[in-house]
Amino acid sequence: MSAEAPVQAPVQAVPFLPMIRTLGLVSLICGFAVTFAYQWTKPYVEENQRITTERAVRAVLPGAVTQRAFVLGKDGISPAAADSPAEDVVYVGFDAAGKIVGIAARGASRGYADLVHIMFSYDPACECINALKVTKMNETPGLGDTVLKDPDFKRNFEALDARVNAEGTALANRIVTVKHGTKREAWQIDAISGSTVTSKAIGRGLDQSAQRLVPRMQRHLAELERGGR
C-alpha cells in the first residue's frame, strides 16, 4: 500500500483489469450483504425502538392506558411519523375513559461523559412537571448514576412548577438546578452533592425541552385532549 524505499528493479506494470474486476466483485458482495441486512432488520429495529419508547412513556405516565405520539409544532399538532423531528414529538397519555392523563416529552443535555437523555411528563391540570425518568446515560458509575436511585432527587420532580408566562411564549420561571440544600422555589431542582454535573445536565435538558414545548402544549391543549378520539 505504501512504497517506502526506492524500488531497485523496474516495477512491473500493475494489471488494471484484474484490480477493477476484483474490487467490483468485492463491492458487489459487500453491497448485497449490507443492503440485505439493513432491509431485513429494519422492521425489528423500529419495533424495538417503539417498545422502548412506550415503556419510557408508561414510566412517567403510570395512569395512562393508551398513548399517542404527536408532532407539536408551533402552529398545531399532527400525528407523529418515523421521520418527524425528534425534538418536537410529544406523547399524550389517555386513561380508559379517553381523558388526558398527561403529556410526556423528551429532553437531553450534556453531562460528564455524554448526553443524559430524559423523559418527563407535564400535567396540564397543575401546570407542573410531575414525573421524570432518565432514559439513557453514560455517567460515572457510583457518582453520576446516583441520580437514578436517590429518593430526595426524585422528589424534585413530583410537582416541579412549569407555569407559562403571560405572553404564552415561554415558561414563567426558568427551571434551574441549584446547589444541594438551597432549593427555595418550586421551579428549582436540588442537586445531589457529588453529582453536580449530572444533576445540572438533567436540569438543563428539562429546561430546554420544557421552554420549547410546554407553551405549545398549553396553546394547543384542546387539540391534544381531543387527540384520543
Binding site: 476484483t22 468485492v26 458482495i29 453514560n138
Partner: protein
Amino acid sequence: MSLVNKEEPLTLDTFVRGVWRENPVFVTLLGMCPTLAVTNSATNAISMGLATTFVLICSNVLVSMLRKVIPKEVRIAAYIVLIASFVTVVDYAIQAISLEVYEALGAFIQLIVVNCIILGRAEAYASRQTVVNTAVNSIGTGIGFTLALLCLGVVREVLGAGTLFSVRILPDQFQPWVLMLLPAGGFFVLAGWLLLIDFMNVRKERRALEQQGATVHGQ
C-alpha cells in the same frame, strides 16, 4: 499475485492456537481498545466477543475464498471494505436483537472495523490458507478473544458491582470497588492479567531450564 503459498494441514493446533498460545489480547496485544472499553460488565464482554467473532469468521472466510483473485496491490483496501460491510451487518443485527446491548456497547460496535485482530488475521492467515483452515483458525481466535474479554469483564463486574451477568453474587454488605468500572480499573485489571500470565510463563521457562540442567548434570 497472491503471497507465499505455504498452505498448512488442518490440525487441532489450528484451532487451539488462537485460543491460548497466540491469544490475540494476552499474547499479541491486539484489540486493546474494546478489551478495555466494553468489559465493565460480563454481559457486554460476551456480546462484544461474539460480535467480533462473527465479523472475524465471515470476513476471513470471504478473504480466503477470494485469496487467489485479489491482487496484492489492493488487498488491504479490499479487506477493509469486506470487514466494514460485515461490521455494518452486525451493527444492524444487534440493534434488531436487543436495543439495550446496542446502547451498552455504543460506538464500539462500529469500531470493530479497526480492530487490529481482524485485519491482522486476514493479512497473515486468511490470505494464504484454505477456507476450512481459515474458518477453524478464526473460530479459535474469536473464542480466544471472547475468553480474554470475559476474564476482564468478570473481574471488573464482580468487584465493581458485586454482580455477575446482572445477578447479585456477592453479599449486600460488600461495598463495590467502583474503581473497577472506571476506565482506570480497565487498565489495572488488564495489567494484572498480563502480569499473571507473564509470571506463569517465566516460571514455566525456569522449570524447563532446571529440568534441562538436571538432565545435563545428572546421569
